[in-house]
């Protein structure tokens, strides 16, 4: 900040408002989620309560998966003994880590780069996303596509949740609703993504020559303006859905059945 030629103002910032509040809250909430998700991912248990599969464990691909949770098969086999969540979480994690919104959130709150607008950052050097590893942020679009596949799987989980614990169709419980909300929020989060906006139409030079893609782009742009909100809501949605399933699986309480 105090480079030669600039006004000699020693204060790192002269902001008098509570600029530190937002990054602090972000750190607390994100950390809480990370702690919870790590614990749950390594726990390797209480993730299935028929007919509900926790979104942190879906798809459950190892032979060690509890009975009923492996509707998509067990291609991984029996050699794998760790928690099955660890097999798949890299994709949603990667999607969120490379997300343009989350990048802003954690660069600011965890890395202090910058802690707030017009607040000096603590680092001497800065190279941004120009080199390894942060240049890998450019892979966001691939994680977006992976995210879409996961959304399909989680939607499948919602559909099969319209059963009763005995596997008969045409039933619904509070758990179904929880999964439905979680999956819906994930769809909104994915479809409002900047990479999505680019792919559906943003990369075009002439919208007028692609009327359908232009309409899609308009739609995605509208969603995109609430991308940060969907980012948070879908995160809470997933955590809550997992927590709900865990409660049922651990028999802390029983599911409320609607019909």
């Amino acid at each position: 900040m105090l480079s030669p030629g600039r006004a000699r103002i020693p204060q790192k910032t002269l902001r008098s408002d509570r600029w530190w509040l937002l990054p602090t809250v972000t750190v607390i909430v994100l950390l809480s989620f990370v702690v919870y998700a790590t614990w749950r991912a390594f726990e390797g248990a209480y993730y299935y309560a028929s007919p509900y599969l926790s979104p942190l464990y879906s798809p459950c691909l190892a032979t060690s998966c509890v009975p009923g949770s492996t509707d998509l098969g067990t291609p991984i086999g029996s050699w794998y003994v760790l928690s099955p969540a660890l097999l798949i979480l890299v994709f949603p994690l990667g999607f969120r880590m490379t997300c343009y919104y989350y990048r802003k959130a954690y660069y600011r709150s965890f890395w202090g780069s910058p802690p707030g607008c017009a607040v000096a950052e603590p680092h001497k050097k800065y190279t941004g996303e120009t080199r390894f590893p942060l240049i890998l942020q450019n892979s966001h679009r691939w994680f977006f596509i992976a995210g879409l596949i996961f959304n399909c799987i989680l939607t499948f989980d919602v559909i099969i949740a319209f059963r009763n614990p005995e596997g008969q169709w045409g039933h619904m419980g509070l758990g179904t609703l929880v999964l439905l909300i979680s999956a819906t929020l994930l769809w909104f989060y994915s479809l409002s993504c900047h990479a999505c906006k680019h792919i559906v139409g943003g990369r075009l030079k002439h919208f007028s020559r692609h009327p359908v893609r232009y309409r899609l782009w308009t739609l995605v742009s509208r969603l995109n303006s609430s991308h940060s909100m969907f980012a948070w809501l879908s995160l809470f949605g997933v955590a809550f859905a997992d927590f709900y399933v865990r409660c049922l699986a651990a028999d802390w309480f029983t599911d409320i059945r609607f019909f």
Partner: protein, 253 residues
């Protein structure tokens, strides 16, 4: 509705400087620039401040009020408490000239580095045809009044003087996006955006958008789309393969 406000204004030049306190009357409906002018007219005739239209249209009176980059003419006094001390400082990213005036020539040098609009050869003035939906994206960026608040607040420049040669800042990356989205521009500007103008330095922390007095969505509508376009060109193996394939086909064809 008149009251006396306490102002702390940074006064100095490239050698030294300090805060000076002023008690100034404030009337209803005034903005910070009015108060600075009152200090000039009644207390410190040589207090330097750069201003021009006083209507938020020219982008001259950029400074920092209570640490926040603002246009002095668009900062209403009614947003402060009567008892609050209001601190006014010059832009901190650019060399100081005097008091609230800084040397913003960095920006004009960067502007020169962006190749100008390049229409297709042979297209005569008067024959341009463009659809409204095709010009709207670039039109948003052309709302820019070049106040350089985004350049001032961007931590890449603000906190790292050494990045200035490598990074053009949000204003000029947005200018590249504007031209890249112009329906009749023929240059490919993506590689230059990354390699010469330092788009990779941007970590999309959105302070440029937060301070933009024109409310241009710099990050969401210009910088991120530009990053995605650069990925198309530089970091997407599938698209690269597609390009090779198309070139091959074109050769054979």
């Amino acid at each position: 509705m008149t009251y006396d406000a306490t102002f702390r204004v940074w006064r100095g030049d490239d050698e030294e400087g300090e805060f000076a306190d002023y008690t100034v009357p404030v009337n209803e409906g005034e903005v910070v620039l009015d108060i600075i002018h009152r200090i000039q007219a009644t207390q410190q005739p040589d207090l330097a401040v750069r201003w021009n239209c006083k209507a938020g249209k020219c982008g001259s009176c950029s400074a920092e009020v209570n640490g926040k980059p603002r246009l002095l003419c668009m900062t209403r006094m009614s947003t402060f408490l009567d008892t609050e001390t209001i601190t006014v400082t010059p832009l901190r990213t650019f060399p100081i000239i005097k008091d609230l005036v800084t040397d913003v020539s960095f920006n004009y040098e960067k502007a020169r580095k962006v190749p100008s609009f390049t229409p297709p050869p042979g297209l005569e003035p008067g024959d341009y045809r463009m659809q409204q939906i095709d010009v709207e994206r670039s039109q948003e960026f052309r709302k820019c009044i070049e106040c350089f608040l985004c350049q001032n607040t961007c931590h890449v420049l603000r906190d790292h003087e050494e990045n200035k040669p490598k990074f053009s800042g949000p204003r000029f990356l947005m200018r590249i996006a504007e031209l890249d989205m112009h329906p009749l521009d023929t240059l490919d500007r993506k590689k230059a955006a990354q390699d010469e103008h330092g788009l990779g330095y941007c970590n999309i922390t959105k302070c440029c958008t937060e301070v933009c007095p024109e409310h241009i969505k710099i990050t969401d509508n210009a910088l991120i789309p530009l990053k995605e376009r650069v990925i198309d060109e530089k970091y997407d193996p599938l698209l690269a393969l597609g390009r090779v394939f198309r070139k091959d086909k074109a050769k054979k064809g």
